[in-house]
Structures are given as C-alpha cells and as structure tokens.
Amino acid sequence: MSSDSRPALDGLRVIDLSQIYAGPYATKLLADMGAEVIRIECAARSGRGGSLPRMQPGGAFGASFPDSDTGERSYNRYAYYNEVNRNKLAITLDLSKPRGVDVFKRLVSISDVLVENFTPRVMPNFGLDYPVLKSINPRIVMASISGFGQDGPYRDCVAYGEGIEAMAGLSYLTAYADSQPLKPGVAYADAVSGLHAAFAILAALRYRERTGEGQHIDLAMREALTPLVGEAIADCAMNRRIARPMGNRDRAMAPHGCYRTKGDDRWIAIAVASDEEWRALCRAMGDPTWSRKAKFATMADRLKNREELDHRLEEWTIEFDHIELMHMLQDAGVKAGAVLDTAELSADPHLNQRSFFEELAHPEAGTHRYPGVSWKMSQTPGRLRLPAPCFGEHNRYVFGELLGMSDEEIDQLEREGVTAEEPLPQPDV
C-alpha cells in the first residue's frame, strides 16, 4: 500500500450546483477520490434545508441533528447533508443576479467539471446553458441530472427520487406478494443516478484527455434506473408476462426469504441456491424429521412447497439470536445474513475491522463517525479529509485565492446580496 500522497483525482476541480442527493452523491464519489469539489449554494435555495428555528423536533427528522437538537444553524448540522457532502467546499452565489452569473462564469473558466440537477429550464434561464459554458471553457464537462431528461414531453416535469422509482417500474415490484406498492427505504433512484453520473463524467474526462474537448452529459434519473429493472422488462418483451411483486421470494431459490428470529423485530435473510446448500442447512438444523420429507428434497420440490417450507424454517430460526444465527449458518456453509439495523451496522465487527467508518470533526456538528470511502484501492485509497462545509465557509478561499478577488470585492458581493451569510427559511428539507 502506498501513502495517500497523490489521490486518484488529484488536480480535478468540480463545480457542484446540485442539490438533495442525486448530484451530491456523484460529487461525493469524486470528492472522496481527491477532486476539489466546490458546492455553490444560494440563500433562497441552498439545497441543504433552510434555517430552522432552534428546536428539538423529534422523530426521524429531528434525530438527524446531533443530539436531536437543530442548534443555532440547523443547516450546518443536518446528518443527511453532512454525510454526502464531506470532502467538499462550499460557497454562496446567487445566480439570479447578473453579478452572480459573472462570478460563476469565471469559476467555469478554471474548472474541469460542472454538475447540476435542476429541472432543464433552470440553467438556460440563468443564461448558463451548455453552449454558453462551452464558449467560456471548451474543456468543461457538464453533467445535467434531471428526472426525465433534457428533452421530450416530460422535460419540465418535477420529480424526486420516489417519483422516479414509481415511474421506472421499481416501486411496483417493491412490495410483498399481497401488498400495494411500497418504496425503497432510501433515495434509491438518486444514488443510482449519482453513480451513473460519476461514471459518465469520468468517461467524458478520459475523452477530453485524448482530444481536449469537453461535452454535455444528459442523465435522466428514470433512464438510469430502468436498466436495473431490465430483467422484468425482458420477461414481458419475450413472453408478454406481467411481472408481479414477489416480496422476499426468488424465482429459482427456496428457501429464500427473511425469517423471524428471537427478539423484537429481529430477522435473518437466508438464501439456498442449490440442493447441496439445502443439505448444509438441514445439518445445521440437526436434520429435523420434516426436512427429510420428499416434498423438500430438490429445488423444484422446495419451490413448489415453499409456503410450508418457509413456515417450518421460521419455527426454527425464531429460537436464535439473528447475529449468532448468521455466524452459525455461515460457518455451516449456508448463505445467511442478519437484517442489520443502523446501530448494528455501526457496530459490525467486519465493517469496523475494514475501517469502513471514518471520524470527522465538524465545527458545528461535533466529532462523529461517517460511512467512509465506498471501496478500497491499493494505491490511491482516498479518505475523509474534510467535514461537510458550513454554509458559505469557503467564500474567501474561492473568491480570493482561486479567482483573485480583493477583500473589498468580496465584501461588495456580500453587500449586493450575491453571496450570503445564511440560507433563508425553507419549507421543504
């Protein structure tokens, strides 16, 4: 292993106009690998939630602040923002003001990549569509992430990840066999879009290194998610068969599911992919009489009789602690995993031995552990270097050091409201 002296994306500068999760996830991947990512936020639409009155709001939302306290500046203390925006810098700039646009163009001229996830009409309204940016910097790679794409009848439709999951066929399948459609428990379409966007950006950069030419990436979140339900679409294309939700069952494996264990709301996932694995599971269970019956002998038998099989298996799993059972089954050669909650995941000995979590000291949120770099690299491992930026924290560095403005000019920007000290109250987080 070499030292982290030269990160993988050393020298790459990214302007990040993106908000919420899809764009920020893309730039997180780049920032973790050493790119200098500069977030641009404005007071009216900071993308990090507005300034909330100080309170202890309770529930999942309230718990997203350190000690469940929004603090004086809630927008600097929000878990959701601080996790995905670590390793980035942040400035404030109002692009609805001509002076803001001027400064932005200067930033474009010294940057490699621009990421935005507004609806497609926003950048042209600012006078900042791709042809304009290209005329300023022909090498710029611009990635536009939108719900449905930069053209077509739904171009201007607004969408969050949940809506994209619904309209890409994923929510329909995210259900128990007898339930209405549910939704992924995380902003899944956002993460999938951010990942594809980061890939596309790096591909465009490689082309640029060969030719000197930048380009525009048009990533529709729905189009990035759709290949991941491709199997269900293929079945319909081939056989006119309409996919049905299967809950935790599988077309080809039985047992395959989520089984109750000892304790309140504790579960284990078990997948048996072959008859050999079934025999391993039977041995682990002590070869109970029921498991030796012919109706469970082969995969075809078990698939046919899985209702009873699942019931029998759960009568056994319920006697065990889910984590102990995971170890016991894995040792016996059975594919099994405890359904880990966030507390158990944080304590997971394997993740901790691999140093998955990294600690960062944040000036307003305190010192906390965050999920770290998503993969391990032998030469350029990357790491969590910087806590998420406070609102406008890097105005002086970016305007002064990078753009060469004087203190007087920077103060002037603030007086004109082109930059701001704090975000305005915002209704939706």
Partner: protein, 396 residues
C-alpha cells in the same frame, strides 16, 4: 460513428452473474473493448437464469445475460487447466482493466491474482467484487443479493413497519456494487493516465450498499436514533406516500409550496398552521387522510398532469411492462430493438445516460465463445491450428 469515450481501453471481464457484468457493460457502452471470459460449455451462470423466450431454457437466449453483456466480445477459457491459465496471463498482459467477482482467494489459488498479474503488467487495474471484500472476518462468507441487502442495512429500512423487512426487487445490491466498481475503475484509469501506475480495487457489496443509506448511519451517530422501515412513506418527508387513485396507484408528495399542494388537493384544512409547518410529519395519518379523498377521486394521469402544472412532483406507479409505451421514453428513443442471431430481435432499455460528443451505444451480447478466433488469433497471435487444438483439448 463518432469516437467513443473509452475507445482504446481493453477490459478483460472474468466476472459472472450481475455485479461485475453490469460494471463492464457500462464500460462497453462507452466504447471500451470488453472481452468476456466464460468457462467452456457452461458459460456465465446468467445464461441459465432467463427469462427465456417461450420459457424454453437456452444459454443463448437468457434475457438477463443478453442485457448485462450487450456490446462485449465473448471468449471461452478453462482457468482450471494449466494451458488456460497460461493463455489468461497473456490476455492480462495486454489488458488495461480486469474485472472479476469470484469469492476471495479463488484467483490466488489459480496463481492469477493481482500480485502475480501486476508483476508482468504493472499498469494493470484490477477490480475484485465480492460480497464482503477481500479481507476481514467475513471475507470467506458466501452470500447472494438478499444477504447483501440484509447485511448492508438496506433491507432493514425497506418494507412495512409491521411486517418483515423487504428486499428491493431483482438483485439491486449486485447492481449497486457493479456501479461503484465502474466508478472506481474510472478513477483508477484517471490516476494511471497521470502516473502510469495500476492498482487493485476491492469492492465489497455490503459496503457499497451501506454507502447509499442516505443519512441513516450518520443520524444514528448524531443522536442514537435507529431509523426504521416506513412502508410506502418517506422517513422524514410528509406527505410522501403511495396512494390508491381511481384507476391505479400513484406516489403523492408535496413540492416546495404547501399552499399550492393544498389547492391541488382541494383541502383548505391542510392550511392550519399545525399542518402547514415542516413538523407536519407528526400528524402523517391526519395529513394523508385529508389528501386521500381527492386522490381516490381522480385517475392517475389527471393527478400527474394537474400536479405538474403546480410544480408538484406527483408520479404514477407504472408496471415494468408499461414502460416501453410511455411517451417520454418514446420521444427520447430510449428503448432500442437489437437483433441477436439466436434470441432474435428484442427491445432493451437503452444506455443509462446521453453524452453529446461520445454517445454511448448498445450492441448485442456475444454467443458463447463467439470471438475465440478474433481474440486468440488476432489479439494473441495464435495460429489456426493452435486454436483448433485448444478447442479439442477443452481449454477454450
């Protein structure tokens, strides 16, 4: 055809099933020359998983294989044989990138792990995808997608709070790992272009999944609060829920402006200060109860259109089979019909993104061993007789 973004990049794809193949599929879409190495006769297990036209199993017609391996070249090679491993080393010597997703330790036993391959080719980038990573106490545990969704935290957060945790449909953990691998490979290429140095990348499916839990892990560290699955609701936003409209399900949520939402659903009671505040999630049942009558009284299409007029991000729950008929996909020519010599003409979801100068392109998946002649003959310079002999010996 315009030059593609990854033209000139040679990828050896030893991977099987979903995670690795989705990674290399992205590389192939962008113009890399991806050579997929499959075991002779059996091929990639995804050739056996279907779906198949007419439900008749045929290794050349598996929908999953055709989707994941579009645009790659296919060769066969038996890595269990010494001759096969010798040829593999020649291939790795000419490769920029190698992607594999065997259980950790398998390639080391065969003498073709990163250490030995990078001695010959120090610029080689190798990505190894496994369920729990290349080291650590769970390294040798075996898993499938549902186990990774469980141990990565995604499953705990998905499903009805009163029922068992729910797996996302189709192997989403595998896809998420493949996506992270593809980004990591591109970062390694960027580094190699600058320094000439290759490297080994260790992608754990568990870690890839744990990376996309939004702020749930950080929220736990911030406050000790364990977020839990919330059915079709969002953890923090209200309203955000799948509801039954007159004809089908829709996903309802409010946009930035609460008065607009209250106007849309024709319910002035939503404007009470208690419900107009961001803290309205405390009264989620009440809020949803006030919205439901309007939703139930309208058809989904109308809800989508009216909501969009107010810039409210409501959405229709579509079935996968309905997607190809959707006007937006049609307008952007997203679904593409591709001919395949065995499977015929099928419709595939198009590339996942557009690029103005180097548009990604989808081509068909290879037949088993289709490019043996080209790769062994032209790329490695073996004679025709050698290739025939290797085939007779069962090496290819």
């Amino acid at each position: 055809m315009p030059d593609q973004a990854l033209a000139g990049v040679t990828v050896i794809d030893l991977s099987q099933d979903i995670s690795g193949p989705y990674c290399t599929r992205l590389l192939a879409d962008c113009g890399a020359s991806v050579i997929k190495v499959e075991p002779p006769i059996a091929g990639d297990p995804s050739r056996r998983s279907g779906p198949f036209p007419g439900d008749e199993a045929d290794p050349e017609k598996s929908g999953l294989f055709l989707l994941l391996n579009a645009g790659k070249k296919g060769i066969t090679l038996d890595l269990q044989s010494q001759a096969g491993r010798r040829i593999f080393k020649q291939l790795a010597d000419k490769a920029d990138v190698l992607v594999e997703n065997f259980p950790p330790g398998v390639l080391a036993k065969l003498g073709i792990d990163f250490e030995s391959l990078s001695t010959m080719n120090p610029a080689l980038i190798m990505a190894s995808i496994s369920y729990f990573g290349q080291w650590g106490p769970y390294r040798d545990w075996d898993a499938t997608d549902i186990v990774a969704q469980a141990t990565g935290g995604l499953m705990w957060l998905t499903g009805d709070p009163d029922r068992e945790p729910l797996r996302l449909p189709l192997p989403q953990a595998d896809y998420i790992a493949g996506l992270h691998a593809a980004v990591a490979v591109m970062c390694a290429l960027y580094h190699r272009d600058a320094t000439g140095e290759g490297q080994h990348i260790d992608i754990s499916v568990q870690e890839a999944v744990a990376s996309i839990l939004e702020g749930a892990l950080t929220a736990y560290d911030y406050s000790g609060y364990v977020m839990k699955r919330a059915g079709s609701r969002h953890q923090q936003k209200c309203p955000s829920k799948v509801m039954q409209a007159k004809d089908r399900h829709v996903h309802i949520q409010s946009g930035a402006n609460w008065d607009h939402f209250a106007t849309l659903v024709e319910e002035p009671k939503l404007m009470q200060p208690r419900l107009a505040s961001i803290l309205r999630y405390r009264y989620a049942d009440e809020v949803e109860g006030l919205i439901q009558p309007w939703v139930a009284g309208h058809i989904a299409r109308e809800i989508f259109e009216k909501a969009q007029e107010w810039r409210i991000p409501a959405a229709t729950v579509l079935r996968p089979d309905e997607l190809p008929d959707d006007p937006q996909y049609k307008s952007r020519d997203y679904f593409q019909a591709i001919d395949h010599p065995a499977a015929g003409r099928l419709t595939y979801p198009g590339p996942a993104f557009r690029m103005s100068r180097t548009p990604p392109e989808m081509r068909r998946a290879p037949l088993l061993g289709e490019h043996n002649g080209e790769v062994y003959g032209v790329m490695l310079g073996l004679s025709r007789d050698d290739v025939v002999a290797l085939k007779e010996q069962g090496v290819i």
